[in-house]
Symmetry: C2
Subunit: 206 residues, 2 copies
């Protein structure tokens, strides 16, 4: 499943991402993961300590990069004289899209992320909020300046809606079946355009 020139750790992470996306954290067993990664069962506990740690590492690997890219894109969008709302929004949305297009398991990761939102596990939630929260706050600050008529509460609600819509559509749960004639790439590109248009309008609503 994974090219042999990847390290054992990387092969496990890749296989785990795919299988967690497909069957959930509890639903995918370490035996499935290690078999898919062409690795001995004990390798997971040797390299990661436990299944829970493996789950965290699957998140960390992707989220670290996603956060960096979002912050970079945000700073770029804010560097001009008159920052535009749809470009700040794109700074939030496009890095996630790019990730979901990533050669390897990026698409799978978006489904893993959606699962994480559904998990009520306290440890996982704290981990995500610790690694995720400050990015959301920076975006919120930028939006506050661009949309001064919006109250803090109203703004946070709308960002929450956008997060839900983004995750939902990137993980392609919904009824929007990709047509056979449209490449996966083009399909997601279109999703981003649609979402930015939709969310921009939603944000500027009175």
């Amino acid at each position: 499943m994974n090219a042999p020139h990847f390290s054992t750790k990387e092969r496990i992470l890749g296989a785990a991402e795919t299988l967690f996306a497909r069957h959930g954290f509890a639903g995918a067993s370490l035996r499935q993961v290690t078999a898919a990664a062409n690795v001995n069962l004990a390798a997971v506990n040797y390299h990661f300590g436990s299944k829970d740690n493996l789950i965290e590492e699957v998140f960390r690997r992707r989220l670290d990069e996603l956060n960096v890219r979002r912050i970079e894109a945000l700073n770029a969008a804010l560097a001009v004289d008159a920052p535009k709302l749809d470009e700040v929004l794109a700074a939030f949305i496009r890095p996630a899209l790019d990730l979901s297009l990533d050669e390897a398991g990026g698409h799978a990761f978006m489904r893993v992320l959606a699962r994480a939102y559904a998990e009520h596990d306290e440890r996982l939630r704290r981990f995500l909020s610790d690694n995720y929260g400050h990015v959301l706050r920076e975006f919120a600050a930028a939006f506050t300046r661009l949309l001064p008529h919006l109250g803090k509460e109203e703004l946070y609600w709308r960002l929450d809606f956008i997060t839900g819509a983004l995750t939902h559509s990137m993980a392609d749960f919904g009824p929007m079946k990709r047509r056979g004639t449209v490449s996966e790439e083009a399909h997601r590109e279109r999703a981003a355009e649609h979402l930015i248009r939709f969310a921009t309008a939603g944000l500027v609503a009175p």
Copy 2:
């Protein structure tokens, strides 16, 4: 956990809903479910046949009513001379809100529903699309008449975004922590108002 005057079947369904929401379908065991329901372990297989059937039944119980209420609300919104967009939208959103406010496990059910979207299980997806699809199509038809400038693809994308935002916020994953001073009821009521305002603006975007 459940009042003794409920039947064994009902107690199992209630406990299963809560525990599936909390730990996922694979993560919640029948032993946990039957213990929470104060019922013998074998009762699940006696009354439902299997764990998979129990999962389906958890969905059927809530979705049947949700669909009926949505269709009723839609028809009511369309019965006037000039149907309004935000009222059609409310017909989609409010029944889900009401369900999530339901005395018993309605709130838990919204989280179960979010999990179902994340499941890639073919059987479950088919079951949901069979029981859910026609309602979405009816709403799409109503929106098409109200928003003739929107192409079919654009409309379906936007409905998908709304579904994602609705599920995400109703299951309260996001950073929007309910304040201690605001009742759960008021909190969700406000969510519905915000979402309707946000989604209406998003739908009428060019």
